[in-house]
Symmetry: C2
Subunit: 79 residues, 2 copies
DNA sequence: CCGCATTTACCGCTTTAGCAGTAATAACTT
DNA sequence: AAGTTATTACTGCTAAAGCGGTAAATGCGG
């Protein structure tokens, strides 16, 4: 349950900690500037790959948690 | 770095574990059936809120991880 | 207080996400 | 092997995501 409020706060905090403006972050992530504006305002209809680019630049990891995730990750490692 | 391959595997595994068809999952989540089809195939441009609905039904949590997340979560709790 | 940087909003455009109906294909059960 | 269920693909439609230019509003530093 990706909380949009937490997400927008996290992105803003990490961006400022990295000393970047919204425009700089957008350029580094290779997305349009309106994406960063929208994300930090809590917009919930951003596309996954667009968000992913932002999180990569800010070095934020996303982890899925459930009772089955161990099976999935182990299976992947065995590949 | 939300890995789309992990995500699609996780959704498929959880859906099957819950004994649901793709159509049933889509109905429970309140989204169109093509969303579940696309997600399980690894489509990366699904919208965040659409994905969120799926993850809620499957009881999969999403956690952000970075060196600053503690500050953000603690601040939120203090609100 | 002023100047500059940043953020927010508007614009017009292209592409497509999501929707549900329908059909074809694949998988499963009997 | 046949029937049923599930998955995949196609269709046409609407609304909007994302893009970058531009302008207005806000915030910050000197």
């Amino acid at each position: 349950m990706l909380n949009p409020d937490i997400l927008s706060k996290a992105i803003k905090k990490h961006r400022k900690a990295a000393g970047l403006s919204q425009l700089q972050l957008a350029e580094m992530a290779g997305v349009g500037k309106t994406v960063v504006f929208d994300l930090e305002k809590g917009k919930e209809t951003i596309q996954l790959d667009t968000l992913r680019k932002i999180l990569i630049v800010l070095n934020i990891k996303v982890v899925l948690q459930s009772h089955l995730m161990n099976q999935i990750l182990n299976t992947d490692e065995n590949s």
